[in-house]
Symmetry: D2
Subunit: 304 residues, 4 copies
């Protein structure tokens, strides 16, 4: 019984046509299906049908995020655990969205809708399963290999984190704390895989998305991504730079609808016995932007 | 209950003084303890007391390999499972080697001694746990971040693999097969973490070590590692090149005692639902050395 | 008869002890000589005795810059040409500074003192001249390979540029222009070697230094340099980013005395027949910082 | 009066159609013109009409190599110098090949035909001359930025080198020597630009081409190039590896007609006062392949 990974995000896009073009041609995701108000996309090295769903909407933001579980039976088990914990759940029937099986849905104390699922159509990564080459031809734009993580905000950060650690077995890789005794949570970074974070939660406006991130393999791909942003008039929020938190390297930027994206690269490997690293509020600049050592106003205030 | 990672290898070193110098100054591991016939070493970004033990011996080879489990109670559980499976186990008392707690020991059908443990002294990675920098000063040589995986050989490959998949929950990321129906195993690559492999097993001489590998973060560090090998007269077996299997990039080379080392970088992320990739025997060159597309004789025949 | 390269800069350092430590340990230059009020430094891959002289002083700024000529006789020839052009010259006797031969000295219309020289002691780059390794051990900090270029400001930019093109045979690789007809020079980038620029001149305060730059071979070394800046509390002005002008990648930062430094990497190769690239004033942000597409106030106003 | 660069090579291709496809789609050169028995190609960042001419022929090899001079008048001056030196020249009329002006032609003591020219049509590098982006979209394959250098063989190496140094003002960056007194030339590497070599000459079969090389900016592009070779069944001769000579990193491989190509990256900057580095015959392995420290038989014996 286990969550395997952040499986998908569904993102609201008021600037509809431009956003579709952007995620396909500039980010370089691959379209796998389309409905009137949804476009289904995957990063090239993902095997599942989609990891990003664009949703036609009046305002930007996160429609839902979902974790893929190892077994079908995990849905029952997690549902029971959530209910025991006092959290209501509902079942999202198979076929509600294209290529997806049934899901268990609940709401985080920070306001975001989360789904747990196991069934989704597998379409492969474009490479043969026998004697494959290392990468396919014809990739576009930044072509990240996969969806990596997201950062969400809300009021009850500790409450949300407790669900991830107590029910889903996530661990805290890093935390940013405030207060004279450093005992007030500003943000925590959580991992279930061996990466530095699968999800992070920060104190802030309820039910908001700060950013979701795609994985790039190397620092040099960040330069390439930044070139592509400049060539395509994509607004860069910060970077290329390094995070103090996770040690990863990064660029933050905005999609045409106003959702913040990140391309993220690097960071250390984690295990259940990895120590939690703490950043104190006075070092918040370095924690977030290690090179600049100060936050920009936009980074703190703009969420979608 | 879970194995977290390949925790350590103990390697026999007939060329004793030169091997110690090599692992410390050329590879860039950090010595944490020493006995008359053992030197304990860790890669810089590992938190545990050691991941490599050099053992003074008359011939090269693998003394034992060990996996770190998440919980102390895992030792009892795995011991029971192994015994039920018909595999004898013994307990290695705490303190048998420096900084180590109790371990469960058994022998693979391919001949290697494996230990399972949970307790080991934690010494940290040289960085603060509060507001750390991304890397410490004063690193030497290639300074890999950590031990990554190993490749062992033996006669009953399928038998050994079955233990990893059935008892320990490993998955097969890739396999190299022979025979008209591609149903004979030459080698399989197994993962428990989200990396492309934690251990691999190849048909060959019983109870032998083909190589153990250290992790480097980037392709450019392989060039640096190769420079360091050339400057220090380290014999390179192959590389820098890419593997077909795992897509990782690599250099194989020998320690002064004749044990093959690897520096490995890259490869895709794995999950329990990752498909198994198959390489057929006619493509073995590309499977192992994607650029050269042929094996060198030494790579196939030399083990320790 | 030819200028071979920007041979040295002499920089005033009010923050004397900290600046010496910074250039040696953080930048990673090598000290080759010291007087009471001067420290002589070289980048590791330079063969001449020094390329940077730190001068104890009450305020930051550029004491002089100097070009190395191919032949001793070039001094006479250039002196004649300068005098014919109406520019006064004087001879700086050999031995005025350590390891230096005679120089011809004159003042640019933008106010900076320039010297031309051929003689300087050669100390080598730390590698053997027979069967050398590609790099020496023991380098510190960012360890750039060499001094690359500098950017100076003054009022009569066109007058200064004319001297470089007409007398010294420099070519203009790029220019930033203003005015309705794009006929007013804001800045020009000039090359004599095959690099994208050896010197650049920008309209601004008379006799000021905007920055001088060290060469790094690869984008990944910029990340390393930024890490070192953060670890050593060096103030970063901008970057890591890319320039529109020259396509080079860059970080700007300040020495402890307030002189702006750059580490620069990349850019195209130039030849005498390379076309001049023009940037218009409305695109000045992209010209200077291609990723951000806007200048920071500090970058425009702070000179030393 | 000066040679600016190696301007073009004309290469014989018996495997005609496959060679055209290879140079365009695999190497990633851009076709600018075609005749019945010639295809004209340029690397993307070159401004001139072509740098590589493929010539339909019965056997592989070098038809001619050519240097671009700064001024038209250089042709007269160099012709005079060559004649004074006892070397016959002839004039190749403008229009003999597409887009080319007049050239002066002569034969090296090592047998190769060399042309000197100034006039050639300029077609640009695909980027605007006003406010350009750093690279154009739509590049294919390895897409090197430019032709870099070539290595030719013949009997009278010293005679050929003397022409480059005495008449054309080239300098020797490195030399490989034999004999008890290290006074017999095996090979010399010559530069006129600030790169580590523009041409190299090695003792061997008369009038042969060992390889010609394209420039890549970074080590990571060599990995990409090797991937492309493997995906397209291009035979790799050696690499990715580093040269001892020039410190550059490299892959050698063969075009479908049997001409050896190289992608080359890095190496130090040179100036007229750069010291000459010497490699002794016992270190020839390290001189050529720094990582492997031994030559492969094919590399020594196969020329075209």
């Amino acid at each position: 019984m286990a969550i395997m990974r952040l499986g998908r995000v569904e993102v609201r896009c008021p600037n509809w046509e431009k956003s579709i073009d952007y995620y396909k041609r500039v980010i370089g995701l691959i379209e796998t299906a389309r409905e009137e108000d949804r476009v289904y996309l995957k990063a090239w090295d993902e095997h599942d049908h989609h990891s990003v769903i664009l949703k036609k909407a009046d305002s930007a933001g996160l429609e839902h995020l979902a974790f893929k579980c190892e077994f079908s039976s995990d849905l029952d088990l997690y549902e029971q655990k959530l209910n025991n914990y006092g959290i209501d759940t509902e079942r999202v029937p198979a076929g509600t969205r294209i290529a997806e099986g049934e899901a268990v849905r609940f709401t985080l104390p920070t306001g975001q809708i989360v789904e747990l699922y196991n069934q989704v159509e597998v379409v492969g990564n474009g490479l043969a399963l026998v004697n494959p080459d290392p990468w396919p031809d014809g990739l576009l734009g930044m072509h990240p290999t996969r969806l990596d993580h997201l950062l969400i905000s809300g009021e009850d950060v500790d409450g949300a984190i407790k669900i991830f650690t107590d029910i889903f077995g996530f661990h805290v890789s890093e935390q940013l704390v405030a207060g004279e005794k450093n005992d007030q949570t500003i943000a925590k970074w959580l991992f279930k895989t061996n990466t530095a974070h699968d999800i992070a939660i920060i104190k802030g406006p309820q039910n908001k998305l700060h950013h979701f991130a795609f994985w790039l393999d190397e620092w040099v791909e960040l330069r390439n991504a930044a070139d592509i942003m400049a060539k395509n008039d994509v607004m860069i929020d910060a970077g290329p730079t390094r995070h103090g938190v996770t040690r990863g390297t990064t660029i933050y930027f905005f999609d045409p609808s106003g959702n913040r994206n990140e391309v993220f690269c690097g960071g250390y490997i984690t295990y259940p016995d990895s120590p939690t690293i703490t950043w104190t509020e006075d070092t918040i600049g370095k924690a977030v932007f290690y090179f600049e050592r100060e936050l920009n106003e936009r980074f703190i205030t703009v969420v979608s």
